[in-house]
């Protein structure tokens, strides 16, 4: 079902593991996160961060099970198998949506079949809406949570020009919108902080809010990223750093405790 992600040269881990560790290090003790469907990479990242540098981090499994500590990560990240060890099972409309609207949660990660330079995503259709070439699952809570939650993280395991596009076929969830101060004008809090892909890490240029190359995974060049991205990538002057290497302990925890069955590799199928 899942193909094996590639080795990261010289890092003693595979690309899924580098992505998890990279995202994990973006989280802190003040992170209050939850997850939606098919969110293996961020779920691993939250669980790993809690085991390493952010013990106070809040994570609501499936947006339901607060402080869960699952024995394994199942095929569905909305599954009850993810809820073991929770100290609260919250009631969806009354508890979860109240907390999300009030930004009691502050962190949400999402991906899409398409993503544009401002971190807007499409998970609805490829092609025209009424007669789509590909009908995708739908935006789910993306349109909601991208408007409610201040710290948005994006990820993609398929960094290619079909995913990173000049123009979305449909905007299911908002990133920085049309860029610049668009979110602010709409009264929306925060915005996308970073995008972790299987090739690199993007941040967002503070003025234009366009994706900007922040680090390259080992063995990847700026030209590789440019060639794999459907829009013009902002590349800052000077040396582009290499994405930092995971510690041995991070890799061990991820493999042995956080995700022993390798659910994270499902995103590479």
């Amino acid at each position: 079902m899942a193909t094996n992600p590639t080795e990261v040269p010289g890092y003693g881990c595979t690309i899924d593991e580098l992505m998890v560790v990279t995202m994990s290090r973006m989280m802190g003790d003040d992170t209050r996160a939850f997850n939606g469907a098919v969110s293996f990479i961020p779920v691993c990242a939250y669980l790993l961060a809690r085991r390493t540098h952010a013990p106070e981090l809040v994570w609501a499994a499936s947006s339901i099970a607060i402080d869960a500590d699952p024995k394994r990560i199942p095929e569905s990240t909305l599954s009850d198998a993810l809820w073991d060890g929770a100290s609260m099972l919250s009631n969806s409309p009354f508890d979860f949506w109240a907390m999300a609207q009030g930004a009691r949660y502050n962190t949400f990660a999402f991906r899409g079949a398409q993503m544009d330079r401002y971190g807007n995503v499409n998970n609805t259709v490829i092609g025209p809406y009424d007669k789509p070439k590909v009908r995708l699952p739908g935006g789910g809570g993306m349109a909601d949570l991208s408007c409610m939650i201040p710290r948005i993280y994006l990820w993609s395991t398929t960094h290619d020009p079909r995913t990173f596009v000049e123009r979305l076929d449909f905007r299911s969830g908002i990133g920085w919108g049309d860029g610049g101060d668009h979110r602010e004008r709409l009264g929306l809090p925060g915005g996308p902080q970073a995008c972790v892909t299987n090739m690199c890490v993007f941040d967002f240029e503070p003025e234009s809010k366009a994706m900007r190359l922040a680090s390259l995974h080992p063995g990847v060049t700026v030209d590789d990223v440019r060639g794999a991205t459907g829009f013009d990538v902002l590349v800052p002057g000077g040396e582009i750093p290499v994405t930092a290497q995971p510690d041995e302990e991070e890799i061990r925890l991820l493999r042995e405790e956080v995700d022993p069955t390798g659910a994270r590799r499902r995103e590479f199928s």
């Binding site: 469907a37 095929e75 809820w83 699952p137 935006g139 789910g140 349109a143 408007c147 409610m148």
Partner: protein, 292 residues
Amino acid sequence: MDKRRSLVEAASLVEDGATVAIGGLSMNGAPMALVREIVRRRARDLTVVAIVAGMPVDWLVAGGCVSKVVSGLISFEGLGLAPHFRAAVQRGEVEVEEYSEHTLICRLQAAAYGLPFMPTKAGLGTDMISMHPDTTRHEQDPSTGEHYIACTPLPVDVALVHAHSADSQGNIRVDPKLIWMDNEIVNAATTTVASVEEVLPHRDFVAEPHRTTYPRFMVDAVAVAPYGAYPTANFPRYSYHAQFFADYVQATRDPSAWAEFWQTRVVGPAEQGDLLDANGGPNTLIDIAREA
């Protein structure tokens, strides 16, 4: 008033052309036994409201029951896309009116509460809003200038939910009270039909009244359906059946395999016990039992 009905009787409350809302969320708590009876009686022209769902919508589409899906997300998550739903939409046979989860919740709440709209920040700046400006209107508060989305009422004819238990009067327990968005569809619906794992004596409800989720006067029919959410989960009693999802997706790749799968493993079996028998019997029940 005795609200107990057979699954066939309960499912018959969903008339052709109705707007029917389906409880549960993704792989959890869908009223599959009721959905199966709707498919078996060949209902037609349904508008299906399902906030986040997979298998129930795919069964209804495969059965030719659906003209429109009003939804936030339809998939099998890590186990694949909903294949009949996807194909029917791509062929233009089923219309999708897509909303986000919260705008859909707000539309259901507006219907339930008798309000012209419910406001939310959800969807601002997305195509989810620009796509249906009549039902999700982008507005600005006259006093503060703040942007919001006014979500208009989405009335529902029948809500279908699966729960843990009921008494004969139609008091319903979802236990624990993890109700996803089921309350929203029950509140918005004219008629509510519930399948339950078991019927308990009324005195059990009186003994622990805080565990009751829906009161009798909001429930029109109760049908007993053990494992009535199968192949989705009924937390904490049983989990979803991953193998069923995998076999289902596999079968759709070959028309003849699909015809047999559909007949023998979905619509053919007569009762709940037969359905479980056709899908692995006791081994499946052991497989989906949750670890304590």
